[in-house]
């Protein structure tokens, strides 16, 4: 999104409820990789979500969310190429 589109928004918008969007840089990276891959391949978010749901179900209950995200993306890339 362009800088002009951001005009008028306070710098802390996504954090206004006291939380960072990403707790660590690798989480943002993992999110961005999925978005870029889904966009570039046209595979669709629904396909990613199927793998994310399966990864969350398969991994131990306390697994950090973005680790499941990475697992889901790896599975999608493996399945879809």
């Amino acid at each position: 999104m362009s800088v002009s589109a951001r005009k008028g928004l306070p710098a802390d918008v996504p954090r206004r409820n006291g939380e960072l969007v990403f707790a660590a840089p690798w989480e943002g990276r993992a999110f961005g990789l999925a978005a870029a891959y889904v966009e570039a391949t046209g595979v669709g978010w629904a396909a990613f979500r199927t793998h994310l749901v399966a990864a969350i179900a398969d991994l131990p209950e306390g697994t950090p969310y973005y680790e499941a995200w990475v697992e889901g993306l790896e599975r999608l890339v493996t399945a879809h190429g």
Partner: protein, 195 residues
């Protein structure tokens, strides 16, 4: 990943993400610049202020509220918001008789264009499991006590639909303009964990 910024060795998950990025870049599917731009957008541009502006508009404009409730995606698009995870937006109106609460029981489905990315608690197993089973207890942990006579409706985001709650306009806000009203609306109102 910018391993040089780390004072210590990258963790296993950091190495995994870096390896995945390298693989996708080598295959020519993505560039790191595109990934940078996506991260930047979701860190700085897309957040619950978008949804707050939608709510404020609905509070001051009855025709807009009607359009919002009948076709959320289109009415939200009128304010310039849309895109990934916003293809099928449904807006749920809180009333004196009904309070709405949104969850995704299977993963983390969430209306990104109006709320940004979900908070960590929304993605937690505890919230996903308990919001359906004991919504009033979950809301109480956010300080929200819904009177017994008010019906609580829990909406599970499916693979298609993304929900956003339209909270009730607070009393005593008749003199406020749209911008001041938007400032009253938080992410938690639009998920429904607060009233």
């Amino acid at each position: 990943m910018t391993a040089g910024h780390h004072p210590t060795e990258p963790s296993p998950i950091e190495r995994r993400v870096a390896a995945l990025e390298s693989l996708l870049v080598e295959r020519g599917l993505i560039t790191s610049d595109v990934v940078d731009a996506v991260v930047e957008t979701y860190e700085h541009d897309v957040g619950p202020l978008n949804g707050a502006r939608v709510v404020a508009r609905a509070w001051v404009d009855d025709d807009y509220r009607a359009r919002l409730l009948s076709d959320g995606t289109r009415a939200i698009g009128e304010l310039g918001y849309g895109g990934a995870e916003g293809e099928h937006l449904v807006v749920l109106e809180n009333t004196p008789a009904v309070h709405n609460l949104v969850v995704c029981t299977l993963c983390s489905c969430y209306p990104w264009p109006v709320l940004g990315l979900p908070p960590s608690w929304y993605k937690s197993f505890a919230y996903r499991a308990r919001a359906v089973r004991e919504p009033r207890a979950v809301m109480a942990e956010f300080g929200t006590v819904v009177p017994d006579e008010v019906e609580v409706r829990v909406w599970d985001s499916s693979a298609e639909v993304r929900y956003m709650v339209l909270p009730q306009r607070p009393p005593g806000t008749d003199g406020l303009d749209e911008e001041a009203l938007a400032a009253l609306v938080t992410r938690d109102h639009m998920i429904g964990v607060v009233q």
